[in-house]
């Protein structure tokens, strides 16, 4: 397998077209045949093709260029392809660090958190991924058992920020005042000062950067 320059923007463009056509096979061809088999890293395909495509789909819906049904169809395809990509991803040797990844209670947009979980698994972390809308007390009960090195929380809508605040308080009450917590999701972009106010780390958009940040946080515990 030779590594050639990969045109991620071009792949994302084709991926969106496949999503809008409802064509799962073509979407898989774009990322597997024209991505993985040409030497692209899975982590880059996840971030710069699938996530980029999902952002584009969101904008198309916002601008009334596609319907909510098309948006759901597109997201369904992104999920299938994400699962397939994860199967193909080379997993680094386990590094002995545990990370819990969850959406805060009420948050149903799980895709960004799922990608973070996938990035971390590929990088060697032992990941427990809790998906969308987990009641805070259930999350805390799991954390009490597993005692992860880092807790990663996602909130995409601003009105889930009260849940984010409550989750952070509950995690600290269980794991200690200095438990390392990293937060991500669109809601943080509209409230850029919030992470500092809450004393938590913000997840960067670039996958390598998120992984490196969580690595540092895990090593410091």
């Amino acid at each position: 397998m030779s590594v050639i320059a990969i045109d991620f923007a071009g792949l994302a463009h084709r991926f969106v077209a496949a999503q809008l056509a409802g064509d799962r096979a073509e979407a898989l061809r774009v990322v597997v045949d024209d991505g993985v088999r040409r030497g692209a890293r899975v982590i880059d395909l996840q971030a710069h093709v699938i996530r980029a495509a999902q952002q584009q789909i969101g904008v198309l819906w916002q601008r009334n260029q596609i319907s909510i049904a098309q948006e759901h169809l597109a997201t369904g395809i992104a999920q299938v392809v994400t699962a397939r990509l994860f199967e193909l991803a080379p997993l680094a040797k386990r590094n002995g660090k545990r990370v819990a990844v969850a959406c805060v209670e009420g948050e149903r947009h799980e895709f960004p958190a799922r990608l973070i979980a996938d990035y971390l698994d590929q990088a060697g972390f032992t990941v427990r991924y809790f998906g969308a809308d987990l009641p805070t007390d259930h999350l805390v009960r799991e954390l009490a058992k597993d005692r992860p090195h880092v807790v990663a929380l996602s909130a995409t809508m601003s009105f889930h920020l009260p849940a984010l605040r409550a989750t952070i308080a509950a995690v600290r009450a269980e794991l200690g005042e200095h438990a390392p917590i990293i937060v991500g999701g669109h809601a943080l972009r509209w409230s850029p000062a919030l992470a500092a106010e809450l004393g938590v780390t913000t997840a960067a958009a670039e996958p390598d950067e998120v992984v490196a940040t969580i690595q540092r946080m895990a090593e410091a515990t």
Partner: protein, 208 residues
Amino acid sequence: MTLSEQLAEAGPRLSERVLAEMYADPFWAARFGDRGRHHARTDGDFHIKYLAEALDSNSVAVFASYAHWLRELLVSRGMCSRHLAENFTLLAAAIEAEPWTDRGRAVEILRAGADSLRHTTGPAAELEALRALTPDTATDTLLSYLADALAFAQPSWFAAYTAFAATLRPSLAAELAALRRRIASEAANPMPALAVIDSAVAAMEHAR
């Protein structure tokens, strides 16, 4: 109870009041029908949620970011910026009528959100300057649709509105002609706005 908790509790009642006031204008039922009423109710619920978060985090920016995001969603579905600003202003008035001692903070955020919807660059900003001198609602609404069409480079949005408004108001052609004259004489760079008006007028004449 904090102000955001009071808002959450009173939310449905406040939203219903605003909805009733909006729908007193027959435009809404004629243009968007029951589906519009349903979406307006959902949006009213979201306004309150984002307002509550803006209060809790003491950040007007949260609400203004939401307002800008929602504006793009609504103007591509047949509304104009003025409609959203009016919605915020009506909600502010409804909150003003509540007995909550610190309600002024919520009113301020809503008014700042409404103000933030004024376009600030390019030919759309020139139309905002004209809007500031336009007391009548019908003309101000035309100007707001026009400003949105320019700001988002979507002249068809203005044409879609005028095609619909013409079915409600026989005077629309005369209104557009008067607006055209006013923009031609008062705007520093009138050409982009005039082109949008002209293509809407041509489409209306073609449809006739």
